[in-house]
């Protein structure tokens, strides 16, 4: 992997935040996606959705203003923005499954070249496993962005020909944002849209099991 710098988790979130447009209704999953709210430009209003029945979540509550009846899906006390609403959990997932959310940003263990997502269970892990809202959200949102590190801690590929981890949903991912690249899942395969500063398409391909296609003569560099 040489001496080229990989993005930090915060920088991945910062790049993914650029994919959110003004007025969008957006669900953020656990992990890196949960950092995205801090990087949405002030000129853009995003209505964050929480599976426990909130649309229009604002920033996290400051010390002293916590209300434990107003928490996000990670149990963290949050605030509301003007225009917020409450509803029960079935309607919250009617929104996810029914294609009402503009974007959902999820974490990932593996994404396949067809856009299959594995993000809920590590093979062989102890315990019951926890699905939560991941399958509903991955199946139904208009656009699914996965934010994750490009490789496992020991350098293994996470963007693969076929997922070996238990699947969350099939053919659901539209865009992958990693510490090395922005990649779109298309009918013609994975398209490398951007690379991290200092990286080339060839170097990113070297860290990727699945084939990355390139449309332009030179792939654009991410702007952070």
């Amino acid at each position: 992997m040489g001496d080229k710098q990989r993005l930090t988790r915060e920088q991945i979130a910062q790049r993914a935040a650029q994919e959110l447009t003004d007025g969008a209704c957006v669900n953020l999953g656990w992990g890196i996606p949960n950092l995205i709210a801090d990087y949405v430009p002030k000129s853009v209003t995003v209505y964050f959705h929480s599976e426990n029945g909130i649309l229009g979540m604002g920033r996290r509550a400051k010390a002293g203003e916590e209300d434990y009846d107003l928490v996000d899906a990670m149990k963290v006390p949050v605030t509301l923005i003007p225009g917020a609403s409450f509803f029960h959990q079935a309607d919250a997932h009617l929104m996810t499954r029914g294609g009402h959310l503009d974007v959902a940003v999820l974490g990932g263990f593996q994404v396949s070249e067809k856009g299959d997502l594995a993000n809920w269970k590590i093979p062989g892990a102890k315990g019951s496993g926890n699905i939560g809202g991941a399958m509903d959200i991955a199946t139904g949102s208009k656009k699914i962005i996965v934010c994750m590190e490009h490789n496992t801690k020991d350098g293994g590929a996470k963007i693969v020909n076929k997922c070996s981890y238990p699947l969350t949903a099939i053919e659901c991912v539209n865009t992958i944002v990693t510490d090395l690249a922005v990649i779109d899942v298309t009918k013609d395969g994975l398209m490398l849209r951007e690379v991290a500063p200092g990286w080339t398409a060839e170097a990113v391909q070297g860290c990727t099991e699945a084939k990355l296609n390139v449309r332009a003569a030179q792939v654009a560099e991410m702007r952070l």
Binding site: S50, E51, N52, G53, I54, D67, Y68, D69, L70, V71, D72, A73, M74, K75, F86, F87, H88, Q89, A90, A92, H93, L94, T96, R97, D116, K126, G127, S128, G129, N130, I131, G132, G133, A134, M135, D136, T139, G140, P166, L167, T168, A169, I170
Partner: protein, 225 residues
């Protein structure tokens, strides 16, 4: 008017038998019927099937029921990394678990409430959730058949009830409670406050009284972390 207000938590759960199927409301520390759960725990009911998003937070919420070995089977979406008593009983095979995607858990309960015998969904297709379920293609989309989840009792938490059982909820403490209220044969609600009939504006009722059978006022007990 049928008397629905119970004078004590213990009286409200007194007839729940061993082996009952029970729904428990709550999500993320909010909207849990913690006082009713404690009463059920005191009663010592055994071999229950618990239908709940999660399986407790250490001693809190449903945790006490697993600590005491009162649960035999769970239908849940996110048992939880902090549900240590559940995880212990699951590992030792004292408790079995059906994992259900969260929105499908809601919708299967809503199907039970609505008198529907099932529905098809793309959620879970190609995953282990689809194992053993009928799969077909509708309008070009692969989907699986999901069946309703019924329960004998729902234990839920609301903010206010009137004497008839019309309910309001507070902020995101609503979560699973209104759905479970509709799905169970007998719904028992603990509330912060019981208000006189007519003082909840009908426009503001979230759970209509037809779904509520027993009401008990309880001082809030909350578990965080």
């Amino acid at each position: 008017m049928k008397q629905k207000v119970f004078s004590s938590l213990d009286a409200a759960v007194a007839d729940i038998p061993d082996g009952a199927r029970i729904m428990f409301g709550g999500f993320g520390g909010a909207g849990f019927p913690n006082n009713l759960i404690e009463a059920l725990s005191r009663k010592g009911v055994k071999n229950i099937t618990a239908i709940s998003n999660n399986c407790g937070t250490r001693e809190g919420e449903l945790g006490i029921m697993f600590k005491n070995g009162q649960v035999r089977h769970v239908i849940a979406s996110f048992p939880g990394p902090h549900a240590n008593y559940f995880q212990q009983r699951f590992a030792s095979k004292e408790v079995t678990c059906e994992l259900v995607p969260q929105g499908i858990l809601c919708e299967r309960m809503r199907a039970a409430a609505a008198g529907l015998l099932g529905f098809y969904t793309s959620v879970g297709v190609g995953t282990e959730v689809a194992d053993g379920k009928e799969e077909r293609v509708i309008d070009g989309k692969r989907c699986i058949l999901e069946k309703p989840i019924h329960a004998d009792f729902a234990l839920i938490k609301a903010q206010k009830a009137d004497d008839l059982g019309n309910l309001t909820y507070r902020l995101a403490a609503r979560n699973f409670n209104p759905i479970m209220a509709m799905a169970a044969k007998t719904t028992i609600v603990e509330v912060d406050e019981i208000v006189p009939l007519g003082t909840i504006d009908p426009e503001n009722v979230i759970t209509p009284a037809i779904f509520v059978h027993r009401i008990v006022q309880a001082k809030g007990v909350r578990f965080t972390g």
